[in-house]
Amino acid sequence: MTRSLTGRWAAPARPVWEEPPGRAGLLAKGLLLAAACLAVLVPLWIVVVTSLSTKKAITEAGGLVVVPRDLTLIAYQELLGGGQVTRAAVVSVLVTLAGTVFSMTVSILCAYGLSRPGSLGHRFILLALMATMFFGAGLIPTYLLVQTLGLTDTYLALILPSAVSVFNILVLRGFFMGISPELVDSARIDGAGDLRILWTIVMPLSRAVIAVITLFYAVGYWSAWFNASIYLSDQNMMPLQNVLIQLVQKQEIPVGLGQAVRAGNLSGLAVQMAVMVLALLPVAVLSPFVQKHFRKGMLTGAVKG
């Protein structure tokens, strides 16, 4: 019936994008989404295929390989043989776990304290924290501090210098401040102290943002390599990312190459790509599990401050 209405009774015209899509529209959307997916998947495909290619295939392709041929696991064998990658992976997992727990503990406690309007000196502390976002000491003073504290060549040097991100504290604080004060007040009337309120009320209500910040910290620790380069000398203590960089560099050196590299099937490019796959794998596997928290956590933290 709507179609027959004309003149002043006609429904106001809607913009075209609010109309149900026609076939052409659906096709265009489909193509666009497919192109977006391909833009992500094709590079990933090339990385994986190149990592599985022989030196001959890579030479013939003149670099990155798109069409799989002569597949081999030799690059992965080179990386995972010898045990150093396995040992480094254990170091990375432990540093990531310990570091993330430590960082989250400090960040949550700090953010909770700063989110309570009456806490002692919270404005000053907040300003002091924020100042560190804009003014850094630089590498040399930080190195001297770490050295003076006796942390060089210890795992603590991988955690403490970058344990707390002020940005993350601010996001957490914003979320905590959004929790209804009545809930906190009623708990306090029931005799709950701050720690209990934090543990039983604030944290369960902040699961989304805590998941996101945990992911931030965990990915940060997992990907970090600079601190280890600067503060560690013992090769046995090196985390995974540093060892992977070293293994890539080993393939770049023309003199000193392993026999397989010069005469055999192993290509330096394949090793580089295999390193990318190995480095991506844990994050790619974990991300879907925290994805559901991600949007809510980010949006909530972003709009409340």
């Binding site: 030196k55 001959k56 890579i58 030479t59 013939e60 392709a61 003149g62 670099g63 990155l64 150093q84 590498l139 040399i140 190195y143 001297l144 050295q147 600079f226 380069s229 600067i230 000398s233 090769q235 046995n236 540093n242 060892v243 960089i245 070293q246 293994l247 560099q249 080993k250 770049e252 050196i253 023309p254 003199v255 000193g256 190459l257 392993g258 026999q259 010069r262 005469a263 055999g264 490019l269």
Partner: protein
Amino acid sequence: MTPNAVSTGSRRSTPSRSDSGQSRRGFLASTAVAAAAVAGGAPLLAACGGGDTGGGKKDGTTTGKDAAKILPAFAASTVVAPDIAPKNGSAAGFTRAIPAAELKASVAAKKGKGGALTVMAPFWGPPPASDNPYYKAMNEAIGVRATWQNQDGNVYDQKLGAVLASSEIPDVVVVPGWNLGGKIPSAINAKFEDLGPYLSGDKVKAYPNLAAIPTDAWQRSIFGGKLRGLPMPASYVTNIAPFYRKDLFDAKGWQLPKSADEFLALAKEITSAKAKVWACGDMTWTAYNMFGVLPGNDKALGWHLLDGKLINRIETPEYLEALAWTRKLYDAGVVHPDEKTQNQGDTSLRFTAGQCLVYNNDLSHWYAKTSEQAAQNPAFAMAAMDIPGHAGGTPKLWATNPANIWAFVRRGSSKAVVEDALAIADFTAAPYGTKERMLTDYGVEGVHHTVKDGLPVKTDKGNQEVSSSWLFVASPAPYVAHPDTPDVTRAMIEWQQRMGAVTSKSSFYGMTISEPSQWTGLMNDFEQLEKDIVRGRKKVSDMQQAVSEWKTKGGDELRDWYRKLLDANGSAAS
């Protein structure tokens, strides 16, 4: 490891590419190069730019009129005669393997006093354990107890800055030339020992292998008016070679170009996008050499006194012409399309794949690619073309640094520590054909290498443990030794000799100069601008504008500063 010997000259020279990006990558690429004889360059020594306070001066050059008192005497090594003698600044060439039984001893007795010392050096790749059998064998042979602190070469400059600022400096510290930025030069002057009392004049003769290091390299090792560095000598001849696919050129009957125009014409003939064949990769470095542009990999080398006026490379018409010509190559579509995007893959892979038939890189690629392809593609053949003069005839090439990595001994070290460090240096500077060289390069026979068809071949353990770090403490006069490919070895040396014959030294050749800090960032944007211009993203006139701004922002003042140095010290220009 490949079944052949090495060339120590290799790792010590950065490619003399004429852009300003002197880098680790280039350094790693240089596996075979050379360097050469001191060429008797007139000593340019003269303290200038501030008095040495014992801790070192802030800036200026490291040379001085008292150089004769500082420099070690030169006594060429006569232990093993090379198959191809060095000439025109080339490396020495060794085309045959020397059986273990015929290896000579260049160090008469253990020189080390058995002391413990720590050595910090950059390392690329997984460093071996500090107590591995190779290090033990080296320590045992030298008579020291050196403990290595191998640091990530990628962030070595940052680590170096932090360590030098701290109170815990290792006994011996390796410093590559590309890490001499910021405050590092002044820290070197302040934190490291003057080795003059141990090495100057005839004193060096107590260390015969150090005495055989070319004087040019020692001259570059004077920091803050004192002989502080133990050098890795390098050839002053450009080591950026334009390589071509000789197998394909011969098959098609293509003649090598003799001028810039001929190069472009040939490139158009070669290129067939349909067949996925392009003539070349990015040829900017070669263009600089063809057009005679002053070196860009060292700030001081880029200055030259011309007709009474000191000019910088970026002010010369040759510089703009080289950029414009390279841009023509891109415009003509003869450059592989991936080169348009910087850092897009590895040009040498496209070269071996036959997708681009000419590329330029370090001379060591000649051996590395030839031996790599021997198993995969027996028909593969490559060679380096002589760099043509842009208008035909011979080019005018410029000399690069004769040393670019040094080891320093911590200031305040005891005499015993200094002597132990010198004992290491004397051992690692042993020439090809000696037991010391074989142990340094290949480790222990039966453990780190085996001998196959008369050639040493590294075992897996050898590949893991035998480390180039020892070479950083000091190395012999450059040589190329690839006995498995004697033809390539000979061709490399002969190429260097031909190019060396047309090489001149710019005004500050051989000097290590620390610019005042206010001007150290003046040239930072030029490398990117060069890349943008040749790729068509910016115009050549943008460079003229940038040069004009450079002058007003401090370039002219810097010129005056360099001029004062030159007036005080004289020039090595030839």
